[in-house]
């Protein structure tokens, strides 16, 4: 039981990393990026190409891939998403859905439907684990993912609360028109947010590739887990997403204790329960607005 919870936290940290960019983009631009999972998988493929081409370790390969992902996020915002945002609430959803299909098919075209993993090329990182006491084990990769998750969320929080650039991002998220009138270039604030989101998604893709296998159509599954983490934690709240990811991970491993087939299911159940409770909350808020 204790071990299941601990493993759930390690798994949840992975979901939290996956969900971070999704949460940021929703919080800043109110975009639900349906291509988020595919962008993570795209990141994994870029790291794969670098690792296969140079023989670097996947972690170093990721550092090399990072500028590519940041540039990709910037360009994605300034081209596709900016246009989509101007034409209503539904258009970004459709645009990112289309982007998801485009990424999947480009990956299929380039890499075939074969399954890949970076686990083997990462050496001891993916195989090492320590027995602490009783049945409790700490896998090296799980520990690294958890540490990275805490660092990513902490750094993002510091950026948003302590730097002028972060204040501008929060200001633009609250009221883009007023931000423009205060001299803030909202286009570039949005582009910066998307660049950060895409970079962290690629980090999620790296962890996916290290801990298991991926193929060109792995994205949507990852999107579902990331989306569940965001909703469980509360839409638009960054720390909430971290906690939501951890809760999702623990729910899955506890479900797997009962029956290995219940792993994903128990995560979905937690998601549904939160969604139902929240519906009550929305109704309450509407009543309050009327009063």
């Amino acid at each position: 039981m204790a071990n299941a919870i601990l493993q759930g936290i390690f798994l949840g940290a992975f979901y939290a990393v996956l969900a971070c960019g999704l949460s940021l983009m929703f919080g800043v631009m109110r975009i639900i990026n349906l291509a988020h999972g595919d962008i993570a998988v795209l990141g994994a493929y870029i790291v794969l190409v670098i690792v296969q081409g140079t023989g670097m370790s996947p972690l170093v390969g990721f550092v090399v891939a990072l500028p590519v992902m940041i540039a990709l996020g910037y360009v994605l915002q300034l081209t596709v998403l900016e246009r989509a945002l101007k034409s209503g609430l539904l258009t970004p959803l459709l645009a990112t859905f289309g982007l998801s299909i485009v990424i999947q098919n480009l990956l299929l075209l380039k890499f075939s439907p074969d399954v890949h993993s970076l686990g083997a090329s990462a050496g001891a990182l993916t195989t090492e684990s320590w027995n602490v006491f009783g049945g409790v084990t700490i896998p090296a990769l799980g520990l690294v993912v958890l540490a990275v998750a805490v660092v990513v969320y902490g750094a993002l929080q510091l950026y948003l609360s302590r730097t002028r650039s972060g204040w501008r991002m929060r200001a633009t998220a609250e009221d883009p028109d007023a931000a423009e009138l205060a001299g803030i270039d909202s286009r570039h604030v949005y582009a910066r947010a998307t660049a950060i989101a895409v970079a962290i998604a690629a980090l999620g893709g790296l962890f996916l590739a290290l801990r298991s296998v991926f193929d060109p159509v792995s994205g949507p599954t990852q999107l579902i887990f990331a989306f569940e983490a965001v909703v469980i934690g509360g839409m638009g709240s960054l720390w909430g997403t971290l906690l939501g990811g951890l809760a999702l991970g623990v729910a899955q491993t506890l479900g797997a204790q009962l029956n290995p087939e219940y792993a994903a299911l128990s995560g979905h159940v937690l998601f549904l329960v939160v969604l139902v409770l929240r519906f009550g909350g929305i109704r309450y808020a509407r009543g309050g607005a009327r009063a």
Binding site: W167, R170, D175, D177, E180, L181, G183, I184, D185
Partner: protein, 240 residues
């Protein structure tokens, strides 16, 4: 040469035409009051000058350059700042963050948080509180402070006294006098005619999207302004 030139400006919201062929100029260092009844097009005109509303036709020239197509944040860098109607503070940010997000115009560092606090001393103890927790008058001070932080050459004020207690209105106008003394050009929308005539050197009166009267605050006779304000025929014939 005038600092701001507005030429034949037309602004529309769908089929509704809010501003119709408005032309006027503002010289550097002037304080001009834009008056008129609700729906006369004053707010739209200010927003078009600040870049928050894209005009349908016409031209806006600032410091000799055509800025009609520039986005709002670029105009801020050139020296135009709007204190928008309803203040539009960033509610989740603290007072200090609200002030410091505003970008300063190129080379212009005339204003700092300290200097804003000199003008609005009562903000000092509110500096680290979220803007949402402030009173209306304090929020208006932050909104003006945020605009000043961009070190504007032209300050546009939209209904700075709306919804404020008389004491707060006095504080706002006292600080405005400081700003004007600094040499900042001010174009303000004000419902309170007495206030407008006190602070402004020149008055522009709008009615149904048109300029119907324009003249020096000292020489215009009050009755004529009131007639123009409400669109009585006598003033419409005399104005322009």
């Amino acid at each position: 040469m005038s600092l701001l030139q507005v030429e034949a400006l037309d602004c529309r919201y769908g089929l509704l035409q809010a501003v119709r062929g408005v032309s006027f100029e503002v010289d550097e260092g002037e304080t001009v009051a834009l008056i008129g009844a609700n729906g006369a097009g004053k707010t739209t005109l200010l927003r078009a000058i600040a870049g928050a509303h894209q005009p349908h036709a016409g031209r806006v020239t600032f410091a000799g350059a055509d800025i009609t197509r520039l986005p709002a944040h670029t105009r801020v860098r050139r020296g135009i700042a709007l204190v928008p109607e309803g203040r539009r503070l960033f509610a989740g940010l603290t007072v200090e963050e609200n002030l410091r997000v505003a970008t300063s115009s190129r080379g212009g560092t005339r204003w700092s948080v300290q200097k804003v606090l000199d003008v609005f001393p009562f903000l000092k103890e509110r500096l680290h509180m979220p803007a949402a927790t402030l009173s209306g008058g304090e929020q208006q001070a932050v909104a003006i402070g945020r605009a000043l932080m961009t070190s504007p050459r032209l300050l546009l004020l939209d209904e700075a006294s709306l919804g404020l207690a008389p004491v707060a209105v006095d504080a706002v106008y006292r600080s405005l006098a400081d700003v004007i003394r600094e040499g900042t050009t001010v174009l303000l929308v004000e419902q309170d005619l007495t206030r407008a005539l006190e602070v402004a050197g020149r008055v522009i009166c709008m009615l149904e999207g048109r300029v119907v009267l324009e003249g020096d605050a000292g020489t215009l006779d009050r009755e004529r302004i009131v007639s123009a304000y409400f669109g009585l025929r006598r003033a419409a014939a005399g104005g322009g």
